[in-house]
Amino acid sequence: MTGAVLIVEDDGGLRELLAVILEGEGFMVETAANGREALDSMLARPPAVVLLDMRMPIMDGWQLAMEIDRSGIPRPPIVVLTAAADPAERAAEVRADAWLAKPFDRSALLSVVRRYAQ
């Protein structure tokens, strides 16, 4: 195990669900409610993969991706989690490695996380 799955999602309910599913499968989980918190967390403990919601207050997904590049920290794999109609485009905008459209399938979530975090 290299590091935690960092869940960046402003909706508390969804954040908790993701943590429950992933912890239930034995993943370490860190959570952040916005890009700012995520950046702090990443600086403290580099994650294995970031599950990134795009629309968030304070610092959104686009800003976070920019900040990661600017800060010079190693860029972790990013999985965009989006409610947008064109998730692939959202993912491309932040050069993400994969995407999950809300509402996602549990199995799809696990398989994409496993790809980067085990």
Partner: protein, 533 residues
């Protein structure tokens, strides 16, 4: 003593000239001037103008209606009661012969003697001269000279003077009519809710009505082009700035007729936005565009309401996704527990399916709003339509295990199309879902993929309830449900086929169908084939 004859003609000429010159905007005044001048110049006791009104209350009932009667002795204008002309057929015939009736002895003249007992004798009238007054090529009425005293012989020069006077009466009728028409037109244009303006080639409003001043003059800038340009920015219905050269005025100056386009004005000083539905057309004179006529209706409220509707639609659909993800996620999380109580797996699966259905509905709303807003973007890639059809059929087989699916491919292994994979897959799914929804379990759904020189075609044929003939012309309409309110109503928004065809058409393809009620439907999806890469 000079020559009385020559002097008299000069007076008559001067009178005619003055009458012809005078302002004829008031018909009543003009008629009074004519009768008075005629009475004085020809020295006649009574001169009058009568209109012949042929119908009364919709029935033929000719009447002579007195418009003015000048009495020389009393030097005043009076009126007279209408006369029922059907009692005087000979007179009416004579008038309609359109010649001057010069009745020296009016009480015996066959054309006028009908009036003897009732009119001529009581009033002491001995001689009459009636000249028809023309209007629109018809007899409008008569200019009537009535002489009291010894029988008088009407001279040729008197008759011709009378005819000139009748002509002036005709002219004043025409002038009055033009004026009435113009006034009526002005009232109509002025009271219109639509703004109407005539712009010259510099864009200055040279004529405009009240609504035009309110909506595009006062509110968004002014009368001249430069005033408007300084005051407002021009935008389209979605608030994108319109480049100067594409402003409606310039387009019409280039000859274009603009029909009902929405043009917005953002007032620079206040930020206020107004939207007009504009119709602009060029007016040419001698082959050159001389004016632009602009008709505009303020549709600001409608534009805002429409926007609110769409944005709420899209926003709501989007906001549904997170709670759906939570509900679906927990249902699946619980479902993954190895030891579930009896019945729970089925219940949890039902929750997952319900979430997927809600998600599907919100997808449709999102698609619909982006379609309406023109924001639907296609991410095209080269794909093999056969593969897409195969996976769509496999998915349908899983979801509808009680139906039989028969896939036939007549294309060779590859039918390359350059399409948005997700959208075309959605479209196929929609068509297959419909085929399943409207046919009984156990029946067959046949899918055939083929190609010709230009097109790849997928035909989906079911043996279901079919589409009622009366509904067939409407099935691609937004929100139309062919089976709405019938036992075959499967719910939904009635937008599936609308979206499906729009998506296919945006790819340069088409979607059409044949259907017979009780026998089934055949939907044909056609997409342009991609050339070899």
């Amino acid at each position: 003593m000079g020559m009385p004859g020559a002097g008299a003609i000069t007076v008559r000429e001067r009178v005619l000239l003055e009458l012809a010159r005078r302002d004829k905007s008031d018909l009543g005044e003009t008629f009074q001037a004519i009768t008075e001048a005629a009475a004085v110049v020809l020295d006649v006791a009574r001169v009058s103008i009568w209109e012949i009104v042929e119908n009364h209350g919709g029935e033929p009932d000719p009447r002579l209606v007195c418009k003015d009667l000048y009495l020389s002795n009393e030097r005043r204008h009076v009126s007279y009661v209408p006369i029922h002309a059907r009692d005087f057929p000979a007179y009416l015939d004579a008038v309609h012969e359109r010649r001057t009736i010069a009745a020296d002895d009016a009480q015996t003249d066959p054309r006028t003697r009908e009036f003897k007992e009732f009119y001529l004798k009581p009033l002491g009238i001995t001689s009459m001269m009636d000249v028809p007054i023309w209007h629109h090529g018809q007899v409008y009425g008569v200019l009537c000279f009535e002489h009291i005293g010894p029988v008088r012989q009407w001279q040729a020069n008197e008759q011709s003077f009378a005819i000139h006077l009748a002509d002036i009466a005709s002219l004043s009728l025409e002038a009055a009519e033009l004026l009435t028409m113009r006034k009526r037109w002005e009232v109509v244009v002025e009271s219109m809710e639509e703004g109407v303006a005539v712009l010259d080639t510099t864009g200055t409003a040279i004529q405009y009505n009240r609504a035009a001043w309110r909506d595009f003059g006062e509110r968004v800038g002014g009368l001249t082009f430069s005033e408007r340009e300084a005051a407002s920015e021009y935008v389209d219905a979605t608030d994108r700035p319109i480049p100067r050269k594409d402003w409606p005025f310039f387009r019409s100056m280039r000859g274009e007729i603009i029909r009902g386009e929405i043009c917005g004005f953002v007032v620079r000083k206040t930020g206020e936005r107004r939207y007009l539905r504009l119709t602009c057309s060029p007016v040419t004179e001698d082959g050159l565009i001389k004016y632009v006529v602009a008709v505009g209706v303020d549709v600001t409220e409608e534009v805002f309401f429409e926007r609110l509707k769409r944005e709420v639609l899209a926003g709501l659909a989007h906001e549904l996704k997170t709670p759906l993800a939570i509900a679906k996620g927990y249902a699946q999380q619980l479902r993954s527990t190895p030891t579930l109580p009896e019945g729970w797996p089925r219940m949890l699966d039902a929750i997952t399916r319900a979430c997927d259905r809600m998600d599907h509905l919100s997808e449709m709303l999102l698609d619909l709003s982006s379609m309406i807003l023109g924001r639907l973007r296609l991410t095209r890639e080269r794909i093999n339509l056969v593969d897409l059809a195969l996976s769509a059929v496999r998915r349908a087989e899983q979801e509808a295990p009680d139906h039989r699916f028969e896939l036939e491919v007549h294309t060779g292994p590859v039918a390359s199309v350059i399409v948005d994979r997700t959208r075309i897959a959605q479209t196929l799914r929609q068509l297959l879902d419909n085929a399943v929804a409207y046919s009984d379990p156990g029946t067959t759904v046949a899918i055939e993929v083929s190609t010709d020189d230009d097109h790849a075609t997928i035909v989906i044929h079911d043996h279901g309830v079919g589409i009622p003939a009366a509904s067939q012309p409407n099935i691609f309409r937004m929100f139309f449900k062919a089976h709405g309110g019938t036992p075959h109503d499967k719910g939904g928004l009635g937008v599936g086929l609308y979206l499906a065809r729009e998506v296919v058409r945006r790819h340069g393809g088409d979607l059409f169908f044949e259907s017979e009620e009780g026998k089934g439907s055949t939907f044909t999806l056609q997409l342009p084939l991609a050339g070899t890469p």
